[in-house]
Amino acid sequence: MIQKSFQSLENLKDLDLGDYLPVGFKNAIEYLLSLVSQVNNFVELTIEIFSDLAEEHFKLSNAFICGLINGLIELFEFIFQIISFLIGLDGLVSVGYDDLIKKRYQLEIVENVLNFLFKEVPLLLNVFLDLAKNIKDLNFQELENIFELFKEIFQGSSGKLDNISRYQWAYYSGSIIFEIIVGIVLALLTGGLGNAGKAAGTISQKGSKFLKILGEEFISAITFGASDLLSIFSSLTKAFAKACKNGFRGFIEWIRSLLKRNDKHLDEVLELEEVVIETHKPLKSYNPAEVKHFIKDVNFHNHYGLYDLQVIRLRAKLLNFTLVELQDFVKTGSLMKIKKSSLVKEMEFFAKQKKNKFALQKPKSIKGRHSQRDFDLNNCGGEILNLDWKNIEIFEEGFSIVKSHLERFESVEANRKMIKRLEDIIYGKIKPTDWDKRFYTHEIREYRRYKNLGIEDGVEADYDIWNHTHSSTLEDYKIYELDENRNSILYHPDIKPEDFDY
């Protein structure tokens, strides 16, 4: 039955993966196809192994394996619901293209979570296969003992599980491991309250009952996020795989130790270790072809040639950059047409800053030659570059950066109107003027400087930081904010004094 369900997914092969589909979706479909083939292989091998079993043993073993597979599927569903809850993706399926653009960051997380989970699946299937291979050694009496414990926990004194068949308990014994995983994740996620469980369906309702057993001493002080969830999931599956190396005995002992707690701290039981999700992995964990593909996509103006990209990529690898950090540099560099040599220099600056945990440097106050503004040269997010705002095009990706960068500040009508102008330029409604180009390049460069100071998107730094980054960006483009008639050089003449919200 399981094989039949998965076989129907093979129709995915016939899907036209045209160029219109985002890369992330294509990857997800390719992973799904690979998953279908892995599950089919697993089921075929299991059928072969089970064919030698006596009828009663066969039925019980079959129920047990079905419990394992269904538990795994429910666990994945649970994980996606929690991830969705954590990153606020509710209702994504019904949104339009513009909303998808806005949700790009969340979509990247989902893509990375998918990649992560699909890498865990083969490990789990191998564990299941090992268990299936040892099915003849399965001591059903031992499994029954575990199930008795399981019943105690779930039903308390209600007696709901007393009248179920042997096949049903074999099924539940297969899925018990996933119930435990869900219980632990919920305990950590909710600080023991189980509120998030409401969003997670049947398995979490069962799982949340484990909170009572796991107790407050297991509640970790970690601030829970998507990567923490994956970290725990990964640790649990690895510990599960390790335990199952000793066959059913190991499987049963591990479950028993989890349920009994053995007075150990949760970290010891789970052997928690740091797991970093895909986008935060260092470059060296990717093959060069993958990285080339990712950075080619963000080289918007084709500003960097193949040789340039090669130099940038190798330097980023040497500096131990993550893929996202490298993409960010290539993206902003290409949008602002920063020379390769300057970009590499700034990447080195960023790496140094990161190593120093973005600590503030000894101040060096100067008056900007072009801007005539006082600012701190040592804390403005990098050296002054020689940039040109004239020969640029306004790109949607750049527009997203401008919009996201400005969202960190107090909302001002003048900025809203400039954003609207950039949007109209992208949709071809108006032609870009010099004011638009100056505003666009200024905001992207200022954004880059914020990044170089270790300030994440959406975080509003204080006036001093803004002044240092704003003034140094004016220096990058050799701009004084007022023209000879004392009119603004960054804001379009259509922007009125009252738009500055006084």
Partner: protein
């Protein structure tokens, strides 16, 4: 300069925005008052002085508002 700064906070208050940050004030001074004589580190210094004189007050989010004394000062010096 005190007048221009107080005028900004007064106008903001009239529009219902009691507190404002210095980035918005900076933009106002440049693009509305066309005055670039006191920005950045000097503006920060000036604001500190004005708080000491009780012309402005600061909340715990590094935002500022005009005080009754600031309003009085503005009224007295508005012709300058």
């Amino acid at each position: 300069m005190e007048n221009k700064i107080l005028k900004f906070f007064f106008l903001r208050k009239e529009k219902g925005n009691t507190y404002s940050n210095l980035i918005t004030l900076d933009r106002y001074l440049v693009h509305v008052e066309k005055d670039m004589s006191c920005l950045g580190l000097s503006l920060r210094e000036k604001i500190r002085d004005m708080i000491d004189q009780n012309l402005l007050s600061e909340n715990n989010e590094q935002k500022y508002s005009i005080t009754p004394k600031g309003l009085e000062y503005l009224e007295q010096h508005s012709e300058e």
